[in-house]
Symmetry: D2
Subunit: 189 residues, 4 copies
């Protein structure tokens, strides 16, 4: 009895665009299963590979998603800055489109951002509420466990937690403190 694990990434586009596979297991076992991976992969020799022993496939996938959180947050912040620069009335879809060719920040996520803005330029009707499905938390926990400072991945997760807290207790306490020491008025709910 032998084990292999395989993390995957590609989202709902996987069927159309292919999806990548990070395989963990003994080299000989992975080799024996090669035909399966070659069939499933975006190309025979692309988008899949053995990354280490059993367990390392899902570990790698977990870190992949931690990175994804950071990338998403970086784009989100940048577009938010541009959206708030009202003097310039920037066309965010246009900006995303321009960046898709030749820029340093071109990426598949940027392609999706452009598609999102094309469909809904002002993001009308979308609540500022961001779920998370676990991998970000696990990546942060693992980083701390390994004594690795990963501030951007950690803060990306925290930004999501914050997005779901419409009644932040810590912000209320800050307001109460400012009132206490400085007599600053408290905004009432």
């Amino acid at each position: 009895l032998q084990f292999v694990d395989c993390g995957t990434s590609g989202g709902v586009w996987g069927l159309a665009e292919g999806y990548s596979m990070m395989v963990g297991g003994d080299a000989s076992v992975v080799e024996r299963l090669r035909p399966i991976f070659e069939t499933l992969a975006p190309a025979k020799d692309r988008g899949w590979g053995r990354v280490g022993p059993v367990g390392s496939g899902h570990f790698t996938k977990m870190v992949h998603n931690g990175i994804e959180y950071g990338l998403m947050q970086a784009y989100a912040e940048g577009f938010s800055i541009m959206e708030h620069k009202q003097d310039f009335s920037l066309d965010l879809h246009q900006v995303a489109e321009i960046w898709r060719d030749g820029s340093v920040v071109r990426s598949w996520l940027l392609d999706l951002i452009s598609a999102a803005f094309e469909k809904n330029p002002k993001l009308t009707g979308i609540a500022p509420y961001v779920a998370d499905s676990g991998e970000g938390r696990w990546t942060v926990a693992e980083a701390i466990d390994l004594d690795v400072a990963a501030p951007v991945i950690a803060l990306s997760l925290l930004a999501r937690l914050r997005s779901r807290d419409a009644d932040s207790f810590s912000d209320k306490l800050l307001s109460a403190m400012r009132n206490q020491f400085g007599g600053h008025p408290i905004k009432q709910e």
Copy 2:
């Protein structure tokens, strides 16, 4: 003609409890004005002093407030964690009172937190909205200008900005991205 600058801290409690003064100016000039500072200070030889040349008084006061942002945010986060630990139904006023004597985190800000919880244990009616009056921004700008990494002071300021943005564009875009790549449902506004 000679100049002296003087930053001060103590808030609205200054009249009752005294307030500290950070003085900037030539030593001889500050010395000449000594009677003024000795009269205004909490005690003749306490709570005031020359910190450097003209301008350094307000600089020191600015950094004081940057630190204040960080201290406030640290307490606010800690009490928020305790408030969310609903299994324990912690009495936050009681916790603050205990910490006022003998603990490592005892401080004047903690005294004020305790007073705030005494008056309003659940912070009822207080909006999670935190103003800022400039010194935090200037401290962050100065830190970056000096190539000093000050993540906690910076994040304290950003937490305040975030508290005032009930309709975060970046969170909307994150939600739109998650929908794009993963088919994750968008929460509607």
Copy 3:
């Protein structure tokens, strides 16, 4: 058989200055042990109290230490900014002393900072290496588990991890990336 737990804070100064106690347990059990706590506490009715059921004493102590990390980091950043403002040649011990009376940031930690600067004004011979003893990690883990965004406590922990990594792999990779896309020179080790 009944259980009580008791977190404590006060550090090595506890013997001289007293130490605070956060007690968890059934009210009746804590009441029965009252003479013990009254004897150990800084004063009969100060610096100790029941905060909730069994386990809540150490939980409260854990969060106390998380807050402590944030407070320490806020002061450290502020003094670092002042130290780097070389135009002003600020006397950091003097600044700490002034703030001890009347300022908003006065605290016991500030008293210790002042004592540290009195003994060693330039912090000569002290390595920029900060240990951690666990409570910060647990506070961050608990905050995330409770969906509470605690960026300052998290960043305080990460700053300590970073302080112990003199050969940061992520910084090396950033340097390699900058070289790849921009031809920016790599600093050699």
Copy 4:
């Protein structure tokens, strides 16, 4: 006399791969210059466009670089976590290669990371020292000025500042504080 501004991105690869252009100016003026942009752009109708009035081209480019900082830091942290997971002895070049096809984090920066690891799998000889050329600072300043919380872009900049401070004063002070209150040993320089 009329003005047009044009930000560009693409790095040293621009000649081979094309570079994107973000143009600011009156629509009629940009239209008149269309042949120039069509000639310089990666394709006639790709990788360039008018984003708004004069000044908005460089503004957009500035934000582009702010995002770039965040993207780079997210990848750097993720690969650092994997590098530290020594149980798995992950082949980082292999991981980057796998992700280039089908994964959610595929991007041009990832292509460059893969190229960097191919050339130097352990990043041997590269100092953990990351320069910055200004746009990150300006993006952070602009975000704060617009009241936009951009924690990931801010932290990416701060990570670079931190990388260049081998003798962190704030870490020394933290160590001194821990010694003061807890008797924790100070690591000597």
